[in-house]
């Protein structure tokens, strides 16, 4: 462990991080393996700004055996990631470590993110071609683990490969086995698409209340279950697995006693098709995916827009274009959500800000879908989807009401008769006598909903659909402004960069900069206060993990020379880089892109 620990340290130093380490090993050269005393540990804290300690509560633990787990468990931060060598967790070793039950099964690890990896077996497999003894092969497993860590933190192997070569120059068979194991561990990370875990910036002071740990994807799943419950309907998920959205499918498939039907479809098109069919049937229709899947769903989203049925399309964004960087985060699907379909096809868009906000954003998406009879985009991203945070549990009374009403009166019924306030058409459950009707993707005649090729009707309907969505602006809260209502610079953001933007704003405000942060949770329509807020600041910055997508909207809507702060590295913003770039903008004489 120490060898690999120091390898990790030096590689980390080499890539330019500051760090502090705490090697911790038994006094004996060969302490009794598998006991608490025998645990050899190596703790490291590293980061991009100055680091003063090896950290109090580790965020990631690699436990090569039960004893190591037992020893470190108490110190771990809630929500920490634990990578476990599952091969080492046999009954005897568990007992030897002093556990009463099996910690992998009995809930001990419930508030952590646990990855069970058969490290020993996999190391052996990766060394099948070598002629080493079993025991020698065993030794390489730490390098396998190191390889996995290198992958997890995106560190290069080269340094350690060279080191291994030097170190084991006299025993080339060890040099080979350790290199192979190191690479195999790294490749395991690549291949199995374990998502990089990321952490949001914690708030300074904590509100009293009941808390739990939650990841964004889990909160998303819970949010949709809650929304269905609030509307008194069953939830139907049509989905096709894709990183980083699959966990929502996994999570929802567990809750059959909530009436949740999950349909793992043959592809994304069938997934949304089935969800739309279920919406027609009177369920809360949901489909979850990531960018490439949204491409495939776009034709059906348009159908939902035309037939005006409620449906939520959740896109857990990842690095694009194309297959791109499936396990990395990005915010580059906003314009796709807005415009990625033929014709004029307006759709509301809501983006979650933090892991726990996924819960509320999911409810809000369903509320709008049902109230306005429209598909709605729910945007999350790999960063918050897999990131975890402590969450103060909401009370029932904190949740909104969702009133799903099915029309049953035949008298005066027309499929496209609109509620004058919301412009929503009626939702009718098949099975309701006297309300039989037909819907479809061809243009509809106003009110009757019959197929219509009439020119003026078409323009009317195109504008009605646009107005219906635009009208939602009066039904959503103002965008959240942090800081003063006017100032020198306004930092606008959306989605999972919330934490970094808020932290950067705070720190700059503390330093006396007249900066405020406007977070947009609703991206379409935009909240009503955005125009006013924008006019109250000298400079406008839009920070996004893309090349400037919200930026385009802000510029076009408000005709302000907003400046983009952009990053497309599959990584979240670092607070320090935000501060740096905002400072640079403030110091510019002329404002320009």
């Amino acid at each position: 462990m120490q060898l690999t620990g120091s390898q990790f340290t030096s590689t980390t130093a080499l890539v330019g991080n500051d760090l502090a380490t705490l090697p911790d090993f038994p006094a004996e050269i060969r302490a009794p393996a598998g006991t608490l005393a025998g645990v050899s540990g190596f703790q490291v804290q590293f980061g991009s700004s100055e680091i003063f300690t090896p950290g109090d509560r580790p965020d990631v633990l690699v436990a090569m055996n039960p004893a190591a787990l037992k020893k470190e468990l108490g110190d771990l931060a809630r929500g920490a990631t634990i990578i476990i060598n599952s091969d080492a967790f046999d009954a005897r070793s568990i007992e030897k470590a002093g556990f009463v039950g099996d910690p992998l099964e009995d809930g001990t690890l419930e508030s952590f993110r646990v990855f069970k990896v058969p490290l020993t077996t996999m190391t052996h497999r990766s060394l099948e071609a070598t002629s080493l003894s079993k025991k020698d092969k065993d030794r390489s497993k730490n390098f396998f683990a190191l390889g996995l860590m290198y992958w997890l933190y995106g560190r290069p192997l080269e340094h350690s490969l060279r080191w291994i070569e030097r170190k084991f120059a006299k025993t080339p068979e060890y040099a080979e086995s350790n290199s192979l194991a190191l690479k195999a561990g790294y490749n395991f990370g690549v291949t199995t698409e374990i998502f990089t875990s990321n952490y949001t910036v914690p708030e300074a002071s904590i509100e009293p209340g009941l808390y739990r740990q939650i990841t964004g994807n889990q909160a998303t799943a819970f949010g949709f279950i809650a929304a269905a419950e609030l509307s008194g309907l069953d939830l139907f998920l049509g989905s096709y697995p894709i990183t980083p959205a699959s966990d929502i499918l996994h999570e929802l498939s567990r809750y059959k006693h909530f009436g949740v039907r999950t349909f793992q479809a043959e592809d994304e098109i069938a997934a949304i098709g089935a969800a739309l069919g279920a919406a027609f049937g009177g369920h809360i229709g949901l489909t979850t995916t990531s960018g490439p899947g949204v491409c495939l769903k776009s034709e059906a989203i348009n159908l939902a827009i035309m037939v005006e049925l409620p449906l939520v399309v959740a896109n857990i964004q990842r690095g694009g274009p194309s297959t791109g960087l499936p396990t990395k985060t990005e915010q580059a699907d906003l314009l796709q959500a807005l415009y990625g379909r033929n014709g004029e096809s307006p759709i509301p868009i809501i983006a979650a800000a933090t892991p726990s906000d996924c819960f509320f954003a999911a409810i809000e998406a369903v509320r709008i879908a049902v109230k306005y009879m429209t598909p709605v985009f729910f945007l999350s991203d790999g960063y918050i989807a897999n990131g975890a945070e402590p969450w103060k549990l909401p009370e029932d009374k904190d949740l909104p009401t969702i009133s799903a009403r099915f029309r049953t009166e035949a008298e005066g019924f027309f499929p496209y008769l609109r509620d004058p306030a919301t412009l929503a058409r009626p939702w009718v459950r098949p099975g309701t006598p006297g309300l039989e009707h037909r819907i479809g993707g061809l243009e509809k005649a106003e009110k009757s909903g019959n197929v219509s090729y009439d020119s003026f009707n078409h323009e009317k309907m195109v504008r009605l659909r646009a107005d219906k969505i635009a009208g939602i602006a009066s039904d959503i809260p103002d965008a959240e402004l942090h800081g003063d209502e006017s100032g020198d610079i306004l930092l606008i953001g959306w989605g999972g960069t919330f934490g970094a933007l808020r932290a950067a704003t705070k720190s700059m405000r503390q330093a006396g900069v007249k900066i405020s942060h406007l977070h947009l949770r609703h991206l379409n329509p935009l909240p009503k206060n955005v125009a006013t807020v924008i006019r109250s600041f000298g400079k406008i910055c839009v920070a996004e993990l893309n090349l400037g997508q919200l930026l385009k909207i802000i510029r076009s809507e408000f005709l302000v020379d907003a400046i983009g702060i952009n990053k497309v590295q599959g990584q979240p913003f670092r607070v320090s880089e935000l501060v740096e770039r905002i400072s640079a903008i403030l110091n510019q004489d002329t404002v320009g892109e």
Partner: protein, 340 residues
């Protein structure tokens, strides 16, 4: 007809809509519509419990002409939408109407998955061996060498046999009928309606504008007894005028014989529940080498997907009680931050 049929007082007219039927005059779709409007009131299902889901194509305009719940979706995706509807509302009688392009070209994948899963949908494929709505390109069921707008030199791909593809997907119910065989079509529709699971029915349909006469050999009054091999479960495979001809199998190869020559007892007997390979032997019989099987090729019992899905839901609720989200959130590892 099962006992629970004919318990409603519906008539054919109850299933007509106020929309003008907009197929070309002479189109085979009219005849199919007429038979469906005849059969639906006989099924004992309240009108409001019918839903018809279609894709895009001439055939897929069907829902507009049926006074039931209807959904004219997008090209090829009807089985997916219908699956969602049926999974969420198992009490509905959900029908899919589709064309050879809609079902077998763009929609092939949804179709085979639906059949594999055995979702309880009645799927009517109007096979006119052409793309009608887009004005006459060849389709995946058009014969090799087909000259069309998009293949002026003749097509160079072998067609699908829709029934073979369905069988390759392990469909539980596979049948064939024709627009011009109203009586036969009625019977097949009844059988499909009664089947629990995916019922796949290929309906030969004449497109008199772009592919006129494609099935004349099958439906022509004069020749049809020699061409149609009308299937009946438990009955020998006989056809021809006076049922003088029959089918025997040499191993896996069907052979046409004179019944008189071999004796009726040596003629193969139709079995809807036989192994798939037998149904495959039937589905691969093509004119003029063989007569054309008409009727129910296969009808076996296997659980419908939607029932199984809903059973998992209801049995879990029965066991654990309906979940409450506020409780779910609070289970597992929680901690309290005290007021400061």
């Amino acid at each position: 007809m099962s006992v629970n049929e004919a318990t409603t007082n519906l008539t054919r007219d109850d299933f007509k809509t106020n929309q003008d039927v907009r197929w070309c005059p002479g189109c085979g779709d009219y005849a199919i519509l007429a038979q469906v409007q005849k059969v639906f009131p006989e099924l004992g299902i309240p009108r409001e419990n019918f839903a018809i889901v279609s894709g895009i194509g001439c055939s897929s305009r069907f829902p507009y002409y049926m006074n039931t719940y209807g959904f004219h979706t997008i090209h090829g995706r009807a089985p997916a939408v219908a699956s969602g509807l049926k999974l969420s509302r198992p009490e509905l009688s959900v029908w899919v109407v589709t064309g050879d392009g809609d079902a077998l070209s763009i929609g092939g994948n949804h179709l085979i998955h639906c059949l594999r899963r055995n979702v309880d949908l009645k799927i009517l494929l109007f096979n006119n061996q052409i793309y009608g709505l887009t004005k006459g390109q060849y389709s995946p069921t058009s014969e090799f060498g087909k000259m069309t707008k998009s293949t002026p030199f003749g097509s160079v791909d072998e067609p699908f046999h829709p029934l073979s593809l369905a069988l390759g997907s392990n469909a539980s119910f596979v049948a064939r009928s024709a627009d011009r065989e109203p009586k036969h079509l009625t019977d097949v529709l009844h059988r499909a309606a009664q089947h629990k699971g995916s019922a796949f029915v290929e309906v030969y349909q004449n497109c008199n504008i772009f592919n006129d006469g494609a099935f004349d050999h099958v439906t022509d009054k004069k020749s049809k007894s020699d061409v149609q091999l009308v299937l009946e479960h438990g009955k020998p495979l006989i056809f021809g005028s006076n049922n003088s001809k029959g089918i025997v199998f040499d191993g896996f190869s069907p052979r046409v014989v004179n019944v008189a020559d071999v004796g009726i007892e040596n003629i193969a007997v139709h079995d809807e529940m036989a192994p798939l390979s037998y149904h495959m032997a039937l589905s691969n019989m093509v004119w003029p080498e063989s007569p054309v099987p008409m009727g129910v090729l296969r009808a076996i019992t296997r659980p419908a997907y939607d029932s199984l899905v809903n059973e998992q839901i209801s049995s879990t609720i029965a066991k654990r009680g309906r979940g409450k989200i506020s409780e779910l959130l609070r289970t597992g590892d929680t901690w309290t931050v005290p007021p400061r």
